[in-house]
Subunit: 343 residues, 3 copies
Amino acid sequence: VKQTIQTLADLVSGEVEGNPAIEIHGVGTLQNASPGQISFLANPIYRKQLAATRASAVILHRSNRDECKTTAIVVVDPHVAYAKIAAALFPQDSFEPGIAPSAVVSASATIAASASIQANSVIGNDVVIGDYVVVGPNCTIERAVKIGSHTRLVANVTICHGSELGSRVLVHPGAVIGSDGFGLANDRGVWIKVPQLGKVRIGDDVEIGANTSIDRGALEDTLIENGVKLDNQIQIAHNVQVGAHTAIAGCVGVSGSTKIGRHCAIGGGVGISGHLEIADKVTVTGMSLVSKSIPESGVYSGSVPAMQADQWRRNFARVRKLDEMFRKLATLEKQVRQLLERK
Amino acid sequence: VKQTIQTLADLVSGEVEGNPAIEIHGVGTLQNASPGQISFLANPIYRKQLAATRASAVILHRSNRDECKTTAIVVVDPHVAYAKIAAALFPQDSFEPGIAPSAVVSASATIAASASIQANSVIGNDVVIGDYVVVGPNCTIERAVKIGSHTRLVANVTICHGSELGSRVLVHPGAVIGSDGFGLANDRGVWIKVPQLGKVRIGDDVEIGANTSIDRGALEDTLIENGVKLDNQIQIAHNVQVGAHTAIAGCVGVSGSTKIGRHCAIGGGVGISGHLEIADKVTVTGMSLVSKSIPESGVYSGSVPAMQADQWRRNFARVRKLDEMFRKLATLEKQVRQLLERK
Amino acid sequence: VKQTIQTLADLVSGEVEGNPAIEIHGVGTLQNASPGQISFLANPIYRKQLAATRASAVILHRSNRDECKTTAIVVVDPHVAYAKIAAALFPQDSFEPGIAPSAVVSASATIAASASIQANSVIGNDVVIGDYVVVGPNCTIERAVKIGSHTRLVANVTICHGSELGSRVLVHPGAVIGSDGFGLANDRGVWIKVPQLGKVRIGDDVEIGANTSIDRGALEDTLIENGVKLDNQIQIAHNVQVGAHTAIAGCVGVSGSTKIGRHCAIGGGVGISGHLEIADKVTVTGMSLVSKSIPESGVYSGSVPAMQADQWRRNFARVRKLDEMFRKLATLEKQVRQLLERK
């Protein structure tokens, strides 16, 4: 949808410098935008592209205003303003309300009239689906699931029995919510299943990535609080709690009963052991292992960057000798101290 | 279903101490159970909650009997006993036999009359499905698959052609069994596909987690033996063998042709290289890389726990200097020896 | 299909030594092949099995000819020749053209007459599907997707709106192509979604493994070039580019906007940070973290092999002391130099 620069600036409480009447119909990067598109500068590494951009307008911070030759929308946080303006220019797909003829919906399910239940989806007994919910193609919703308003399951999503999703939750394809936790008891060498009797409860404004899985609780529930953002290919085990407004990047695994605080940022590929407590506002860098509770906010790291294989082998071989090196060093220190004292 | 404490104790050969006639209708943690529920003490960290629990009964070991103020079921292994009692109180969902009208089933498939083939599932030619099997919604079973009795595919499961599953196998949503292995030959820079002609064979009493994938063999078969338990988001490559009663936690990747022994425990996020042999009763701690065969049972580790990022950077920078440090240390040792001998 | 050894040799420009008229109907390993099957020797570790094989013929390199007692097909690259011969003996399944009655296909989709749209698949508005394409059971194809000829989606695959796939692409079950990238802006503690407006473009002859996910671009497109091979459980983030003929093993995660060169080989479980550039012909060993750009081809490594847990704990404890050790070593060197100079 076309909008004037003034309209877009008003959306984000920005100041227009230049021509507020220009109509914008799209977005682009500083480097590749064409006239009629709006761009933005949030990451300083792209600052040098500002002078040459062909965008009709640029969203930027006051400190970059002078380098911009085109109309600007000056804001405090250009990335946030861009997100809001792009959402205004490209509204989400809307879906016709109603139940597709090929969907299989239990007679005991309660489906809001404004909801869209799409082709070949399957909805079980006693499910409750709120206003404007979209259940995309080939989704499966088992019995007694509750889904709040404006939530969307894109396609091929599975929601297991009893799970509860809040409002404005977005679940990407292949995600599985409410599968059994990995609860096993070892009976003289043979694993027997511990029934998984809790459920999954998900707050409002949560996003769940493609092929991510969230297990139901063993006795009590697995909890994903409001505003949590989960990327793709994440595994959340039974009875985990993820605090509000925490973001977790792709390929992370969180083991059972761990509690992650609010406003945390967990990097890609991180593993978090079970039964830990992670404080609020903790950042963990990518591919680290968190094996102990983290009681204080801060940045935590434990990943080993790759280097040329020869160099790596040479140095890594010494890790196996570290304890020996440490002891040799102590001996040397003692000997040198004696030598120095003799004089 | 309600059961008396005596009935539950008899199930697990436990001794009742207290009132055997109380009826139990549910389960709960020591901390949160309410009257009418049974709880258990297996992990000693919860021992201090025993005195104050409101559970009507507690499953515990003789050694904790005295601290328990309520009726107790005394057993040798409280975790195993709890698993059996919870299963008795909460029987699995039962499913009506028959083929849902929306399921698409080949005329050449053989489906037991007691099996439940649910909405929008698709079953190919020459498939054989045993007694009391449940094929949940939106599952796809390709041609010539064989499934033993009492096996359940929860929903959205894909079983590729020729795969064989035993009895009492439980497959969670999004799992893929029998996809092509990653077999490639490099023809002067261009990868060409090596046909994957083996299949996947899965024993009895196996559990396969959400979004886990098990590839078919290249020439011979990929094998998952009886009683193996696989968590979510696991990748099992072609021609892997997993020995009976081995448990593998989430996000593990096992490369091609590796044989894992029986009764192993593989921690979350572990990677195992190809063409290895891992002995029976091997434990690998989470996020480790196994790059060589492990001929002896024991505990193996190679993961690096995260620490504060400043501390990590300071120490990790030295890993790149380890070989240099090692050589400097040797020189110093020699020099100090000379100095000591001079006297 | 049965073929004579001569016919198979002609396929791969091989020389027959022995009886060219024998008919071959199958393939097997050197160890387990039976008469009527052909085997191959590519990996030298199997050389000792050559003398005793019961295969009717063996594909091998000239240098191993003398040890082979049966008919041989002598070629330059036995692995490549085997791949081609196996493909000839075991042609891929063929599928009847047409749209299954249970498939739900938009009236505005363009489906080639030779394409096979299978049971319970769902195809959205304005989709274009080329000749001989196979859309397997329970697949979802959102609006405006374009799929080139001879491409196959095996089953349970999701292709999100606007994605473009080339010809002869093979997509395994559970894969998700075109899901939203993980684009978030932090608005005073609350994450807001950055609309993901790019798409995914995939070249020809690409293979995409089970449960792999490829996110759409934020502004520009995510690109997978010709001949790329992706194993299972891989995560490709928004705006990543993967160069032609690169192979990526299972469980790899590639963060946003990273460009991987052509002819690279990325080992299983590798993590690659965002906004990097990886040169052509780079190999990264399994479970490594790539956190900086790699401007030169070569082999890169950073993974820590597991060892016995006791040994590991003893040595790893010293990593936390590395910086201290380094400083002590420098002090000792200085002191010893002084002691040596005193004489």
